[in-house]
């Protein structure tokens, strides 16, 4: 898990005046399961499209397997070695599931036939149904099957559990965990923070095209805290301008602090201000995500 398999440096995309991605620098460690979080329109899909050579960056650069994403011949190699599931789960509507699989399989010599059979059973996909007639969930499952069976070194997945029920979401997460155990790197975006929290070891949070947070998940959970305090007399917000404090909410005599580090220092300060009650609470990734967005 030392070197980066996917790396961007100041990657930027403008659509006319709109800045979709702004100087984004990411490094996805080889062998990791990295979660890519952001609101709708935060720039996740634009970033992924640039990585796969489907869209030209306005500025900055990116490399996957050390290959330049902007160089057409290198981009082809990237797309051979990395499997991709797009946000819209693009497939050929006029084909049946079976035809779609056979068609895709012909391009990839490392196709995993056994896995294909297993996934067809587990996902209960109707082989003879036209792609056009598939439900949203089945469409996602078909796109995942096609990506998983390629035997890729890197999986780039945009909303891989979209439209799936909880049982099938868990199946997909279990599969991703299995691929990671084989050494495959997984880079996936999701709206489901709990999913990211369950299987990711690294999390990237972006907002308005900018990177807000990039850290190992365990580290975040060990360092971030919510600190609730009560004082005898109402306090002013400026009384809490300390390192590590991301957000302060003062409500009469109670103060709620969201902190990313320096918890000890903040507690000492609370003590010095004669807080009558102090509670330190661990936080979930959802809270970290929501607070990081608000803190800006």
């Amino acid at each position: 898990m030392s070197s980066a398999i996917l790396e961007t440096v100041a990657l930027t995309k403008h659509y006319g005046r709109f800045e979709a991605v702004r100087e984004l620098s990411l490094a996805v460690p080889a062998g990791s399961i990295s979660g890519f979080l952001g609101q709708n329109g935060a720039g996740k899909s634009s970033t992924i499209k640039m990585l796969l050579g489907m869209m030209r960056p306005t500025g900055g650069s990116g490399r996957i397997f050390g290959l330049n994403i902007e160089e057409p011949s290198e981009s082809i190699e990237i797309r051979q070695r990395a499997a991709f599931v797009s946000e819209d789960k693009r497939l050929y509507d006029y084909m049946t599931v079976e035809q779609m699989i056979r068609f895709t399989r012909s391009f990839f010599p490392g196709w995993r036939g056994e896995l294909e059979q297993r996934l067809l059973r587990e996902f209960e996909l109707p082989l003879d149904r036209k792609i056009k007639k598939l439900s949203k969930g089945m469409r996602t499952q078909t796109a995942l099957l096609l990506a998983f069976c390629r035997g890729a070194e890197l999986l780039i997945l945009d909303e891989p559990t979209e439209g799936l029920d909880p049982v099938n979401i868990e199946k997909v997460l279990e599969l991703l965990v299995g691929f990671a155990a084989e050494g495959t790197t997984v880079f996936f975006s999701s709206h489901q923070i709990a999913e990211v929290e369950q299987i990711a070891d690294r999390v990237f949070i972006i907002d308005k095209g900018r990177l807000l947070l990039d850290a190992p998940l365990d580290e975040m959970k060990e360092e971030y805290r919510r600190i609730n305090m009560v004082f005898d007399t109402p306090l002013q917000t400026p009384a809490f301008a300390l390192e590590g404090i991301e957000r302060v909410r003062v409500d009469g005599r109670s103060v709620s602090i969201f902190a990313s580090h320096n918890i000890e220092g903040i507690l000492n300060h609370a003590h010095a201000l004669h807080a009558t009650s102090v509670d330190v609470l661990p936080v979930s990734l959802k809270e970290i995500f929501l607070e990081s967005l608000k803190a800006r």
């Binding site: 990791s32 155990a181 929290e197 959970k221 009650s277 979930s284 990734l285």
Partner: protein
Amino acid sequence: MFIKPNPTSGVPIYVQVMEQIKHVIETGALRPGDQLPGIRALAESLVMNPNTVAKVYRELEHEGVLELRHGMGAFVTDKGHSRSRTNKLQAAQSQVKQLVEKLRRQGLSEDEVRRLFEAELIREEELLGTR
């Protein structure tokens, strides 16, 4: 034997799984010399990151609870079993420490805290006595 960790709890998943394994050893469900599941098997059955499972095993090896034999897997050590009592006491001590600090911050005096602890122990004894 193991249950899925709760990802949305603020406690890191690796800490939750470490505690589960220690607990399983304390209860005797796993004994010295017993082998733990492989990294992939445990990651898949608990639907958690295999790198996190590897971290759990490394940390437990560091604590002397497990022994990692190259290419063979993770095994419970003798030390892990006998040390479990010590670990339990250490964990309890840190819980007591946190509680005492919290009560002190709420403005309780040392004496009051001591009285509360004693009263609680006496209440427990009485409860057990009447059973």
